[in-house]
């Protein structure tokens, strides 16, 4: 995080090509990082070749969690707004996708509009609830808890929609059992069916094609957000996080900025919900509960909230760990809770961030210790 792009000496030979991707608000800039990044994406892309179908289905789910982690990192890590109810937007996105898909699938033949609805509806909801909270000057903790309450309330509402009167066109909210078609016996919701003109592609959640789609989308979202946080907007977000009062004295409408990023994060969380609903072809009120909400916070806090990459990594690794642990009995959540508490005590900025820093200090130590040799190496590099 130490070198701004303007400081004269480029921090990496890649800088001229990568522009915003390599800005100072994200960790990892040099050749090793991008080689590592491409390696990880390649390995993930090759997974369907090696893994069993069951694993691929799970891996798709991990990647879907990644979107949620990115959305929380964006508002919490970059703008300092913690939401304990980020899963609410996930759930709203999922329900919106399901309801629209059930109603439009027959007439349209694809779920394009449903997918867009699953992103837009959470954003509209975020503008509404965020507008109230930010313009009422609620302090950070109140926002965090109010979002949890909002999430729980929506969950509570969704639970009591078992009555057949809660039917929206072809969709029946279905109470505890989750959203389902109003008429068919089959309770499943539509998978993603992407259409362009007359041609359609169906991405079944159990297939590798869905996995590739999600992986591609996650990579694009990550890189896109990386550009965003390294742009002027990202700088101002960080200003709002570090000292909102001071940032306001430079003429920035801090509340508007907070609202905009809150809304953007809601859209990304909504996308996560869309993909989840299409993946499992179901969505139910548990998604609004304490469990999913706390999981997002754990991923992001343990990975490192102030960097998109570490938050994403936290989500993927911890999801994988908890899948391993689930086979050991009910210990998974206990382990995750303990990991969170321990990490907050020993590495409050996140495990990946702290490890990265250790790595950096070790590197500088080696560099200074064996300075002459290291200089020679960089010298020859420069030529």
């Amino acid at each position: 995080m130490k070198t701004p792009p303007s400081s004269g000496a480029p921090s990496s030979v890649l800088d001229p090509y990568l522009g915003l991707l390599n800005g100072p608000q994200t960790m990892g800039r040099g050749v090793p990082f991008w080689v590592g990044f491409i390696a990880i994406v390649t390995v993930l892309a090759l997974c369907p070749e090696f893994l069993r179908r069951y694993d691929i289905i799970n891996f798709s789910n991990f990647l879907i969690s990644g979107f949620l982690a990115l959305s929380l990192s964006l508002i919490w890590g970059y703008c300092g707004i913690l939401s304990l109810g980020q899963a609410a937007f996930f759930g709203i996105g999922g329900y919106a996708y399901g309801i629209v898909a059930l109603n439009l699938l027959n007439s349209h033949g694809n779920t394009d509009v449903a997918m867009i609805a699953g992103i837009i509806v959470p954003m509209i909801f975020a503008v509404f609830i965020g507008g109230i909270m930010f313009y009422a000057r609620l302090r950070g903790v109140y926002i965090a808890i109010l979002m949890l309450v909002v999430s729980l309330l929506i969950g509570l509402f969704m639970r009591q929609t078992a009555d057949p009167s809660y039917t929206m066109g072809a969709a029946y909210l279905g109470g505890m059992n989750g959203l389902r078609p109003a008429s068919a016996d089959d309770p499943l919701l539509p998978s993603l069916i992407l259409g362009l003109g007359k041609s359609v592609v169906e991405l079944d959640g159990r297939d590798a094609s869905f996995y590739y789609f999600v992986l591609g989308l996650l990579t694009v979202t990550y890189l896109g957000l990386r550009c965003l946080v390294n742009s002027s907007y990202g700088y101002i977000l960080v200003g709002c996080r570090e000292d909102p009062e001071r940032t306001e004295t430079f003429g920035y409408d801090v509340r508007l900025i907070q609202l905009s990023v809150f809304c953007l994060a809601a859209g990304i969380a909504g996308l996560s919900g869309v993909l989840y609903t299409a993946w499992g072809t179901y969505i139910h009120p548990d998604g609004f509960g304490v469990g999913p909400n706390i999981l997002v916070v754990i991923w992001v806090a343990v990975g490192g909230r102030k960097d998109l990459g570490t938050a994403l990594l936290g989500a993927l690794v911890l999801e994988w760990v908890s899948l391993r642990l689930v086979s050991e009995g009910e210990i998974a959540l206990l382990a995750l809770g303990s990991i969170l508490v321990v990490v907050m005590l020993i590495a409050p900025r996140g495990l990946a961030v702290t490890l990265g820093e250790y790595f950096n200090t070790a590197e500088t130590y080696v560099m200074t210790r064996f300075g002459s040799r290291a200089n020679k190496v960089t010298g020859s590099d420069g030529k």
Binding site: L82, A136, L138, V141, V149, G329, M344
Partner: protein
């Protein structure tokens, strides 16, 4: 007679709701309202209280004593948590929020693993009485009475004891209290423990009415927070009373006019509206008003 029964029913509900909110929030009013620590594990401490009560009761100990055990147990657990974890997070609201949420997950999962998804319930004592064609549980009124007693004793502790004075001073300005010879570390631990003990007693009281499970606490934490936040930090007791009266009042009213769910939503809606109008809570507003009124009157006197 029927109208009397109806009115009685509504009043009973109101008292029930008030008692419920006060008991849920009574520990948190100390931990959040006074100490400024966000303890998302408060519900889990209530759950610990409920378990202690249930186990003691089934071991043959009378319920009132079992509930006292619950308070002591939860208080001790709270003090241990304070020393191990919480004290690293004073003045860091968001971090304390996250870490205590982690604690809440740990505690509830540990109980799930050790004791399973549910344990034997404790029967509700005292039976019930009829009014009109409805029957009303007596224990609910006992809950209300205990809630009132708890608030009164908390107030007395902080208003009249040396510990109370020192605790209030420490919460306002720990450095100054320290420089006056007060061991502020102990005061923090004791105050936190007291808050947890109240949570434990509340959990024990609720254990006699509810299903006891490891996720018992989740029902209470958000409610308790809303109550405390709406009350504000100006004055813990007036805050709690004003907040509970307004929230329980609205809940009861809407509950009777529409239904239980809308009653809940209305309560949260009311909380939101109050916070929008008075972002620092009701009691802060009252304090400010008092100061303003006094200023105005003193100005009149002097002129």
């Amino acid at each position: 007679m029927e109208t009397f029964a109806e009115i009685f029913g509504i009043a009973y509900q109101l008292f029930d709701n008030i008692g419920f909110l006060v008991l849920s929030a009574s520990g948190l009013i100390i931990i959040f309202g006074m100490m400024g620590v966000i303890n998302m594990a408060h519900g889990e401490l209530m759950m610990i209280g409920a378990y202690i009560t249930a186990f003691s009761y089934h071991a043959g100990i009378p319920a009132p004593i079992a509930i006292i055990f619950a308070g002591i147990g939860a208080g001790l657990v709270g003090m241990v948590l304070e020393r191990l974890v919480i004290r690293h997070f004073y003045k860091q609201l968001l971090s304390s929020l996250v870490v205590t949420w982690g604690l809440s997950l740990m505690i509830s999962q540990t109980f799930l693993i050790v004791f399973g998804p549910s344990i034997l319930n404790v029967p509700t004592p005292f039976g019930s009485f009829p009014v009109g064609d409805q029957t009303f549980g007596i224990y609910r009124m006992v809950l209300f009475a205990v809630a009132v007693m708890m608030v009164a004793s908390v107030w007395a502790i902080f208003a009249f004891t040396k510990f109370g004075t020192r605790a209030r001073a420490t919460m306002e300005n720990p450095d100054m209290a320290n420089a006056l010879g007060v061991n502020t570390g102990n005061i923090y631990a004791l105050t936190f423990g007291l808050g947890c003990a109240l949570g434990g007693v509340a959990g024990g009281m609720f254990a006699l009415t509810a299903t006891i499970s490891p996720f018992f606490g989740i029902n209470y934490t958000p409610l308790a927070f809303i109550t405390v936040v709406v009350g504000g930090g100006g004055n813990a007791i007036t805050g709690l009373i004003s907040s509970v009266l307004s929230l329980a009042g609205i809940q009861t009213a809407v509950n009777n006019v529409v239904n239980v769910y809308v009653g809940y939503v209305a309560m949260f809606g009311a909380a939101l509206v109050i916070l929008l109008a008075l972002p620092r809570g009701i009691s802060d507003y009252l304090e400010q008003r008092k100061i303003r009124v006094r200023k105005a009157s003193s100005r009149e006197n002097s002129s």
